[in-house]
Amino acid sequence: MLNGIWGFFVIGGIITGAFLGRMDLVTRSVITGGKSALELAFTMAGVVAVWSGILKIAERGGMIDSLAEKLTPLMDFLFPSVPRGHRARQYIAANFAANFLGLGWAATPAGLMAMKELQKLNRDKGRATGAMCMFLTVNMSSLQLVTVNILAYRSEYGSAAPAEIVGIGIAATLVTTLVGVAAAKILEGRA
């Protein structure tokens, strides 16, 4: 699937570029794409390292354990195949909490570690497990309380009430998460 999307982007981008006479832009994007990625990684490395360090303190202090434990009913529902007390549950809990609070950068290391732990439970390493599909579906349904940067942009462009959309944003996010979870549950049952 990912191979197909990547190929579609690269091949489709170059062919449309040729037809629309935008090959100069395509050339530049090929050359600078790697550079932008490295720049992003450079910024990301610092932030991810800091949050991984903080996360480690929380983990060592038993904080993430107790968070995962409090979320047991939710975890049992979403990830029945992941045993209680497994480290995957702890990282998933940390990832959800960080996403929910809008700490996107803190969510990434916890999420990647959750995937690593879920992979340990996977028998067919090249194929996603139901728990992985569910985890990423919830993740990509964007469960978030307040999107601070959107509010900042609204206020920058002269909104009279930048935060008036917060309530609707939460309602919409709730809808997307519920739909995503329901779809993942149904498809997991069929597979």
């Binding site: 040729a18 991810v48 609070l101 990509m140 307040v146 509010l151 009430a161 959309i165």
Partner: protein, 177 residues
């Protein structure tokens, strides 16, 4: 509003404070543990670096070539037919691929129609309830070498499509057109 902005200034420092104090109380070697975690974090970034390069290169090529413009041109009439605001069609599509490009479109909408217009409000809500699906999926799956992603993409796309329509309906219901 002021309250929310103040809150957002507090949330990161308070989270850090809370965890570090908690660590102290639990007699964790806080600094050594932090360094251990930071090292793992750096390793993670190095591990995902090739994925990141491939991903961003592909996204930049697709944007530069104009494929997204063609796809939104195709989507636009279809969107109008079902009563979806055509001005928001590019944003809904681009949002799946690139967060920075989507932010650019969002600020364009703010500049052209105002953040408090129907389009401005809807675009704001759309940004809060959708996610850069292709980026997130590639990053997480490729970091552990999973190739067969099964039903993750359909579920994520469905959630995002529902989010886009929910944004339009909810804003219309609360604020009117």
């Amino acid at each position: 509003m002021q309250f929310l902005l103040t809150l957002s200034d507090f949330i990161i420092p308070v989270t850090v404070l809370f965890i570090v104090v908690f660590g102290c109380l639990k007699r964790v070697d806080i600094y050594e543990t932090f360094l251990e975690g930071a090292k793992e974090g750096l390793q993670t970034v190095i591990d995902i670096l090739p994925t990141l390069i491939g991903l961003i290169m592909a996204v930049e090529v697709v944007r530069a070539g104009g494929l997204l413009d063609i796809m939104t041109d195709i989507l636009r009439p279809a969107a109008e037919k079902i009563g979806f605001p055509a001005e928001l069609a590019p944003l809904s599509l681009v949002r799946l691929v690139s967060s920075s490009a989507a932010t650019g479109l969002l600020t364009d909408i703010f500049a052209n129609f105002g953040p408090d217009s129907f389009l401005g409000r809807t675009a704001s809500v759309m940004m809060s309830c959708t996610e850069t699906v292709f980026y997130t999926m590639s990053l997480y799956f490729l970091s552990v070498g999973v190739r067969k992603t099964r039903y993750t993409l359909p579920c994520a796309l469905l959630a995002n499509i529902v989010g886009v329509f929910a944004a339009v309906w909810l804003v219309a219901a609360v604020f009117g057109n």
